[in-house]
Each structure stands twice: as structure tokens, then as C-alpha cells.
Amino acid sequence: MASFDVMPDIQLYQPVELDDALSLAERYGDGGWVLGGGQDTYGWLKDRAKNPQAMIDLSGIDSLRGIRTTDDGIEIGATTTLREIIRDERINRDFSLLAQAAGRVASPQIRNVGTLGGNLSQDTRCWYYRRGLACYRAGGNLCYADGPESMNREHAVLGASRCVAVSPSDTATAMVALEAMMVVASASGVRSIAAEDFFVGPATHITQMTALEPGEILTAVRIPSKWAGQRFYFEKVADRDVWDFALVSIAVAMRLEGDSIAESRFVCGGVACTPHRLKNVESAARGNSLSEASADAIAPLASAGAIPLNYNHFKLPLMENLVRRAMRG
């Protein structure tokens, strides 16, 4: 078994115009590796676990960076750093859920260079997959994480389909809760995808975590004003307060009318291959007030349908507890 850690020979493109980046993405297709902050790039390439022909570095494209006001909310360029999001006044005022989620990504150092687009598009952290094993997600015909003795403490309790990996993105849960739209461009045009549809599970596409197809680039995220200034709750439980991915996280947006919840979005991270909406919790929450009693009544719904693996049944009570905490006044 060879151990690789030297950067292999690879073409590096550093376009300054989006059109050029899109042309390159189209030209290289599967062989193109699009990167922003590069925080989930060099490990893959140095390990030779992924072997693209070319890197397309988006960091020099000014139009992909920054936070802009739109007719209906805000638009965040894909290469905007997480730090910029955390410190943005408008986001903190209107969409603090996203600022909180971004503030729990990885470490301060990674947030300084890591981008929103990269955080949303990153690959799963399943350790078997990251080891370069030929699992379903890597194009093979086996899930190493779902065997009778597999070490799968961090893996899925919901939505598994052959692969049991989970989405690692902290900002993804917030985007689904905020009903964000993903702006995706290619040489042939631009399309918008609802955040909820942007993240795809193994039953849809087992080798991808998102709906991005070869040749496409996530250019921006639009957050509608619908949830601006509403009540939010975000919490991430990880082994360490830094660097680790969520064992379970929750992002909640709620619109209150008086004391009662008129509408809500409860989204869990770390439990499925995609951010997982707790629709039964949302339904049950409607008309309830934020209180210990309603928290106790609704929390048990959080883990409905969950099927634990060998080492992760703790995720069920943890999901319930996070819903309970969100529902408290």
C-alpha cells in the first residue's frame, strides 16, 4: 500500500471571468475539479484518491464574491468566505441562523479561507470512503460502513440507500431552513435549484452529494426575505468544538404569530446524506407555543423513521433533544 502525499502534476487554471471558468468546466467535465478556498481539495489530490485532470480555481473571479441585496432578500456569491458571512451585518440582522451555522464550521483558520460554495458542495466525511476504498460512492459495489462490524458512529440513521454516509455541511441545514435557492451556471445557461433539492441522497445519485452535474458551477446562493428577522435556532453537537463535523445539528426557522408557531422549518444535519427536514415536527409545531410542555410533546417525533446502525443509536435521542431545545421559550 503506497502512501501518497505529494501534489501530483495537474493543470491549474485561475480564470478571472466566470465565462472562462464555465468554458473550462465544460471542456473538462468529470475531469475538472472546481475549487474555491481549497479546503477539501488538496487532501483528495495529494492522497491520489481523486485524480482529476485540471483544477479550476474560482478565487480570482470577483463576481463570485460578496453579499448583495436583491429585490427579495440577499444573494451571496459562492466564493464569499465563511468569515465574511459570519461578520456581515445584514446577515446577522436578518438571517442570523446562517451566521450561527457558518460560525460553527470547522475552525477559525478554515473559516478564514473556506467559502460558502465549498462548504455547501463538500463531499461526505465517511472515513471508509475517504480512505479511497471502492465503495458504492466511489463507484464500487459495497458499503464498508454498513457491515455487521462496521464502525459507523458518525453515519446515517435516515435516508440510507446502499450508502450510509451523511452530509457534512453546517451551512446546508441553514440554507434548507431558510428556503434558499442555489444559482447554478454552466456554459449553456443558468438554473436555480431549491436548497432542498440541491442536496441529493444516494437513492438519487450515489456518487454525488449535490445536484451539480459535470460542467456546472455553483455561483451564488439567494436567500429570500420570507424568513428575514424571524426566530431562529441553531445548534451543532460534535465531539470537539472545533474542526469536527456534526454528530447531529439542527437549524430551525420559525414564524410566530403571537405566542404560537405559524410556520416553521426544522432541519437536521449529520443524520442523513442530505439536510433532513423534520416535516412531522413542523406539522406538530404549528399552532403550538414555545414552551417546555410543547417541547416535550413534540421532541419525540424528531427521530421518527430513523434506523440506527451499529454505533449510532445515540443520534435518535440527540435529535429529539435538539428539537426540544429549539421548542423551549
Partner: protein, 803 residues
């Protein structure tokens, strides 16, 4: 208070500037003319036999210089680790190396090599091997016991019922390999008011040295030059020479800075010899850069424990008896000894009236195991703290009181032999810590606040902390400068510098007038101890003391010979030797050194004591005639165990709904005799605290048992604590009572600084959960959530290498 000029005072160690500016050079940073780059191919299988190697495609590549296989290096008898092997016993066991003109070519060549391996049975959990019908990690057996009477393989199997009973918490009844005891165990338990019985598991985890064990070597005129990553310096020489098949006189070791060893680089390890063999084969200097991933495969890990303990306590909290049984996970290369050390720690820290230890070292196909900070002592510290708390609870006593009544003191006796200690003041440390922490007041505060609950913990740590019989070597040159030659390795603790100050203290030299020579054999270093086991402070304040006393004797002889009178008529200060009754009549150190050169003989190293080590002898020979030489072996009296001791107090706030906790306050107290270097001690106590926090909750060692595959091959997966996972302030203090068997009263502290921390944390977690004992490290959030919600844990009782 003492009136030392240097001992007990802070200073800036000479290696600090290089480390903060990046100028410090590590093994990987060196380049020599003609050097080529080697990389390793390691086993993808947990256990097997290499049946065929096809390197033809690699050898045909442009830029590939050569290939080294197990056939090119000496064979090593199992279970010892080999430089290269055709019988890999864990994933990552080195099989061959490729040398090329650059690293990328070497990697390309590795990718082109085809190796056929015949798989053999393997196992990752000792209990899975021990159970009847379970696989053996080695073809020769599943147990390797080392003892004075002889070491060897055995095959030991327990019945399924015996394994099940052990997992269920019952006393193990299966075969064991080692036993020692003292006192009347039956009487001890009969005298007990309370008997606590628990089983436990402590997961071993990687040493995680930031600098992998990279090495570079070349040959010149029959001498092998090795740039290595060494935790010790001259102590490495005999082992590395043996690995290379040469004499120590034909070896030059360069290791000026080391990016962490933590017990994994104490002595020369096999892979350090690979570049020497490769260089000899291809006639070029060879640098073998070990990748971060490979460092996790073969950089070793702490020994894991699966054990059972029964402990009796009298009404006043005094420990009356302890019966402990420990199965050690000793990996594939059978490095252990932690279990018996754990027993020894119990006998010292808790001092039971009677005790029995039984142990069984079991092989697994996991990363090689090695001594890691407090090997054995720190695992058992984590286990013992909640047991002490449980005893206190059942007896209605303050947990602090139970620690104090059992605390090691000057009358404490240890191990089977029940030998004494040089000195011990653990009760004084506990008193000091309790006052700093405000233990009494905190005990009265409310515990619960919503989903959060406070927990208070006390931990104690111990390791024997001294060694004797090594050499000291100093020199004063005609410019009046004091040169302190030290073979102490620079593993990042500053001990090579702080112990050197002992010589300057004796000779009353200004520190600015001193120069330390270290890190390179050609700097003429003395035979010094290993930098491990917390021994350096005790051992090398003594060696530098005896060398300085030898120099002082010679200086007074020269003064009397030159200026008249008797040697005892002279005193020193201000880098002068002068008549005590007339300070104006004297000679500078520089003049004395010049005179020593003129006189020759023992004064300037032409002759030297017979009992110094051959390495020291060669250094003295090289230095002869360059100044006044002070050289001596440490033959100072020494009797009994030299304890390094520490205690810690911690307060946590644990969230019952998430299983997470925050450390609100931490106080660590050192009991290490006289404080030698306050800033260094504080760093040891703080660094040890962080490591203990990692062991208690975060650091993991995960193996997939179906494939024998390690999950933890990087810092991220291993879960080391980060800056934001530990308190921003950790408070430390020291008892600072001199030990009578060191010229300056100093003992070591490195290892107990961590043991007290992990123990305080396991104690605090138990306190927060109303006395629940997990009997396991690490305690992770999932375990706490499962406990609080009444769920079973995911793993089998005593299962290991699963977090």
C-alpha cells in the same frame, strides 16, 4: 527558600528562537549533495505473508534509483518490529522502499509496484483473540509475555463463559501471565467497610507526533551519519548502531530538534535505520520521508487496558486491599509493561495495605504499541478516580479526605518489593490544590441548572521520575566560557537546557557565559539517559552536578598549585577562583583553563575516570587539550523509588441533553521536589492537562474489525483537543519541597502532569452523573446521551479500539 542563582529561575532556552522563527531544522529539512528521496510501501493487510514482489515497472521508470526490500536488511525475530518485513502483522507494516531523484517519482514508482500477500487471520480486540477459537495475531501465538525469567509466545484461550463473565463485571478466572502481590489480601478485604468492584477499558491511541519519523543517512569513510527524529540523543546511539550493524564509534547522530515523541521515539526505532541500509546499497545519501499517514500506522500507540478491579476501604477511607487484573492490548510488536506499571502506581498513589496484580499481554494486529506519557500509570489514574469517589460516597466522606488519607508520603512503600520512596508530599499537593481551587466552597454550590449539571473532580498522577548512573561532561575554555555538553535529547521540554544549568549553578557562572552543546554526536556528548519516564530532571541535574564538582575540584587544585596553599583554601564566584581569606588573590576561569591545558592529564581530559561510558570516553578524547574538563559518572547515593507526583482539581458543566461538557476551571499542582525551571514546569503541567483532557473525552483509536483497518490516520480522525476545546486558563502550582536524593532537591514531573488531568476529568464526569462510572476512556458525548436516556451503549462491555 534557597539562594540559588539559576535553579528555580526562568530563562529562555536556546532552542526557542529557532522554533518561533522557523529556523530550527528537523530531520526532513536537511539536504546533502547527491541525496535521493525514499518512500515506503506498507502492508494493506492486517496480517499476511508476502509471496511475490513485482517491482519491474517501478525499476524501469526514469529517475528511480533503487529498491530496498526485507531481503536487504537484517531479519528480526517476531514479535519485534523489523526495518522491512515479508510477514506484515498490521496494516501499515513497512514492506519495501523506493528511492528516486524526487518524491513524486518515488510515489509514481510505488504506484507501479505489485505485491502479492497471502492473508492470515487477524484480530483487533484482545478479547476476540482470547476467546476459544478466536484468531491469533501472530502465527506463534496470541500472548507475548516478557519477564526477567524469559520472554516468549504463548497461546492463551478463555472459555466463552469466562469472557462473558469478564464483560459482565465479574472477577476474571482465565489464565494470566504475570502476578505479584504483597500483604494479606484476604485480611485486607475482611477489614474493609466498603468494597468497590468494577471492570474497565482504556483505549490506546496514537502518539501523534507532529514530526513523522523521517530519517536521512549517508556514509563517509565507514561512518554512518544519520539525521533522525529522536526523543533521546546519546541513549539512541547503541540501539541505532545495533540496528545498522555497526559500532557506536562509527555512528554520528544529528537530532537537534524533535517535533514530538511522547514516548514513541525514546530509543532508536527500526525505520530510522532504513536510510543507512538504503544508502549503503545505492551509494547515495537517502532521505526516507515518512508521511503523516504512515506515522499513524507505525508511529505507535498507547497500550490499551481491559481490566477488573476490586478495592476495599476502611471506615475512615483508608485503602485496605486492592486486587487488579489487566489485559493489555500490546499490538503486533508486543510492547507493553503498562499493566504492571499501573499496579505499581496503585501501590504508591493509594497505598493499600495489601495488593495483588495479575496481567495478561495480548497481541492484536493493530499499530505497534509503545510507552506513552505515563504508560500504565495514566490509564489506571483515569480508572481509579471515580472508584475513589464511589468509596467516599458510600462511606459518607469527602472525596478529598479519601485521597488525603491514602496519599503517598515519605513512609509509602511500593510494588511487590514494598521499597520506599525518596520523598513524597502528595497530601501537601492536595491541600495546596484544594485551597487554590476553593474545593470546600465549590462543593456547597448547587449542581443543576436546567439541562446542565456541574461536576467536580480530583485526580492524582504518578510516575517514577529519576535515573542514575549516567555521565556528565563540561569544559571551561581559556576565554572563560563554560561549555556544557549534554546528550539529553531535545524533545520539546527544554530539559536539555534546564538540567544543564545545574553545572552553571555549581560553578556560579553567569548563564550568558555558558554554551550548551547538544543534538549532534560530533559535538562530543556524554552518555545520558533516555528522555522519557520523567527521568531527565533528576538524572541530569545529578550528572551535571558531578561533572561540575569534578571541574571545581580540579580548579581548586590548579589554584593551589599556582598560587600556593591548599585546595580547600579556595572558593569561587564571579567566574574566578580565589583565596577565601583574600578574594583579591585569585585566577579567572579563563586563566585556570589555560593552566589546565598546560598541565594536561586529568585537568584537560587526557585522562579520565575508568567508569565513564565509552561514548563519553570518546567525547573526552576529542575534547582533550581544549580546556579544563569536568567529567564524571553519577555515582551519588540513591535508594528507593523516585516519585513524580501531581494532583488536579477540575470543575465541568455537563449538558445532559447533548452529552457535551465544558471545563470551567482547572488547577494542577506538581509535587516534584525543588522547582528547577518554573516556566518549563508550568508548561509541563498545562500541556499534561490538555493531553489528559484529550484522553478523558476525545482521543480515539478506531479499527474496523472486519478489515483490520484503522480509521485514525490523521489529526482530524484522532480527535486531539484543540485550543478551543480546553479552558483558556489552566492554573498551576508546585509544592516545592526538596528531595533529599538530588543535589538540588529536584525530581521529574512530565507524566503525572497528564495523569492527574485525565483522572480529574473522569472523576468530574462521574460526579456530574450522580456517581455513574463508565469505566472507560474516552467518555464521548454519545455515551453520555445513551446513559442519560437509559439506552444501552453501542459497544459491547470492554470492547476496545472502537472509539
Amino acid at each position: 527558600m534557597n539562594d540559588y542563582k539559576l535553579v528555580g529561575k526562568d530563562f529562555t532556552p536556546p532552542d526557542v528562537m529557532g522554533k518561533v522563527t522557523g529556523k530550527a531544522k528537523y530531520a526532513e529539512d536537511f539536504r546533502v549533495d547527491g541525496m535521493v528521496f525514499a518512500r515506503m510501501y506498507t502492508s494493506p493487510m492486517a496480517h499476511g505473508k508476502v509471496t511475490h514482489i513485482d517491482a519491474s515497472a517501478a525499476e524501469a521508470m526514469d529517475g528511480v534509483i533503487g529498491i530496498l526490500t526485507a531481503d536487504d536488511v537484517p531479519a528480526v525475530e517476531a514479535p519485534n518490529g523489523a526495518i522491512l518485513t515479508n510477514s506484515p502483522a498490521f496494516i501499515g507494516d513497512p514492506i519495501l522502499a523506493v528511492a528516486a531523484v524526487d518524491e513524486k517519482t518515488a510515489e509514481d514508482a510505488l504506484a507501479a509496484i505489485k505485491i502479492t500477500i497471502e492473508p492470515l487471520p487477524f484480530v483487533t480486540d484482545p478479547l476476540d483473540s482470547l476467546i476459544a477459537g478466536g484468531p491469533d495475531a501472530r502465527e506463534e501465538g496470541n500472548v507475548y509475555a516478557r519477564s526477567r525469567e524469559g520472554s516468549g509466545f504463548r497461546t492463551v484461550k478463555w472459555t466463552k463463559e469466562q469472557i462473558d463473565d469478564f464483560r459482565a463485571g465479574k472477577e476474571p478466572t482465565g489464565e494470566f501471565a504475570a502476578e505479584w502481590k504483597y500483604g494479606d489480601l484476604d485480611k485486607g478485604f475482611a477489614d474493609a467497610k466498603v468494597i468497590i468492584e468494577e471492570n474497565f477499558v482504556t483505549t490506546g491511541y496514537a502518539h501523534m507526533s507532529m514530526e513523522p519519523r523521517t530519517a536521512m543517512a549517508y556514509w563517509q569513510n565507514g561512518t554512518c551519519y544519520v539525521h533522525g527524529s529522536a526523543q533521546s540523543h546519546t541513549f539512541w546511539m547503541p540501539g541505532l548502531a545495533r540496528l545498522l550493524g555497526i559500532e557506536t564509534k562509527d555512528l554520528v547522530l544529528i537530532s537537534e530538534n524533535t517535533g514530538g515523541g511522547f514516548g514513541s521515539k525514546i530509543g532508536a526505532y527500526p525505520i530510522a535505520a532504513l536510510p543507512g541500509y538504503f544508502s549503503k546499497k545505492i551509494g547515495r545519501p537517502v532521505q526516507l520521508r515518512v508521511t503523516g499517514e504512515q506515522e499513524y500506522y507505525m508511529g505507535s500507540a498507547r497500550v490499551g487496558f481491559q481490566g477488573w478491579i476490586r478495592m476495599g476501604f476502611a471506615e475512615n477511607g483508608k485503602a485496605t486491599a486492592t486486587d487488579v487484573f489487566i489485559i493489555e492490548d500490546i499490538g503486533a510488536n508486543a510492547t507493553g509493561g503498562d499493566a504492571s506499571s499501573a499496579g505499581g502506581a496503585i501501590s504508591l498513589v493509594y497505598d493499600p495495605d495489601a495488593m495483588r496484580f495479575r496481567g495478561l499481554p495480548v497481541l492484536t494486529n493493530t499499530t505497534p504499541r509503545g510507552a506513552q506519557r505515563g504508560p500504565g500509570q495514566n490509564q489506571i489514574a483515569a480508572v481509579m478516580a471515580p472508584i475513589m469517589d464511589k468509596a467516599a460516597r458510600e462511606l459518607g466522606l469527602d472525596p478529598l479526605a479519601v485521597r488525603k488519607i491514602n496519599a503517598a508520603n515519605n513512609a509509602t512503600t511500593v510494588y511487590e518489593e514494598q521499597r520506599g520512596v525518596t520523598s513524597a508530599y502528595l497530601e501537601e499537593a492536595l491541600t495546596m490544590g484544594a485551597e487554590m481551587f476553593d474545593w470546600e466552597n465549590r462543593r456547597q454550590q448547587p449542581k443543576k441548572n436546567g439541562s446542565k449539571v456541574r461536576g467536580l473532580g480530583i485526580g492524582q498522577g504518578y510516575h517514577s521520575a529519576g535515573a542514575t548512573g549516567f555521565d556528565g561532561l563540561i569544559r571551561i575554555t581559556p576565554d572563560g566560557k563554560l561549555h556544557i555538553h549534554t546528550g539529553v535529547g531535545n524533545l520539546g521540554t527544554y530539559s536539555f537546557a534546564s538540567t544543564s544549568r545545574a553545572a552553571a549553578e555549581v560553578l556560579k557562572c553567569d548563564w550568558e557565559n555558558c554554551e550548551i552543546h547538544n543534538g549532534h554526536s560530533e559535538k562530543n556528548l556524554p552518555w545520558n539517559s533516555y528522555q522519557a519516564g520523567s527521568v531527565s530532571t533528576f538524572a541530569h541535574t545529578r550528572t551535571n552536578y558531578v561533572a561540575a564538582m569534578d571541574a571545581l575540584r580540579k580548579m581548586k587544585l590548579i589554584a593551589a598549585d599556582t598560587m600556593g596553599g591548599e585546595p580547600d583554601d579556595y572558593d569561587i564566584d564571579g567566574q574566578r577562583v580565589f583565596l577565601t581569606e583574600n578574594a583579591a588573590q585569585g585566577m579567572s576561569y579563563g586563566a585556570i583553563a589555560a593552566r589546565a591545558i598546560q598541565l594536561g592529564g586529568e585537568y584537560s581530559g587526557q585522562t579520565y575516570p575508568d567508569d565513564i561510558n565509552e561514548i563519553t570516553q570518546r567525547s573526552v578524547q576529542n575534547l582533550a587539550g581544549s580546556g579544563l574538563v569536568g567529567v564524571a559518572k553519577d555515582n551519588l547515593p540513591q535508594e528507593g523509588t523516585i516519585p513524580g507526583l501531581a494532583c488536579a482539581f477540575v470543575e465541568i458543566e455537563l449538558d445532559l441533553e447533548t452529552g457535551k461538557y465544558e471545563i470551567l476551571d482547572y488547577v494542577g499542582i506538581a509535587e516534584c521536589g525543588t522547582v528547577l525551571f518554573p516556566a518549563g514546569l508550568a508548561q509541563q503541567m498545562k500541556g499534561g492537562a490538555v493531553w489528559g483532557m484529550g484522553m478523558a473525552a476525545l482521543e480515539r483509536h478506531v479499527y474496523d474489525p472486519q478489515y483490520g483497518l484503522p480509521a485514525n490516520v490523521g489529526y482530524h480522525q484522532c480527535g486531539i483537543p484543540t485550543y478551543l476545546d480546553v479552558p483558556s486558563v489552566t492554573r498551576t502550582g508546585a509544592v516545592d519541597i526538596a528531595d533529599p536524593q538530588n543535589p538540588f532537591g529536584a525530581r521529574g514531573i512530565g507524566e503525572p502532569a497528564m495523569g492527574c488531568s485525565v483522572a480529574a476529568l473522569t472523576s468530574a464526569i462521574s460526579d456530574a452523573l450522580d456517581g455513574h462510572i463508565f469505566g472507560r476512556t474516552p467518555v464521548s458525548p454519545d455515551m453520555i446521551v445513551n446513559h442519560v436516556t437509559g439506552r444501552d451503549q453501542s459497544f459491547l462491555p470492554l470492547q476496545t479500539n472502537n472509539f
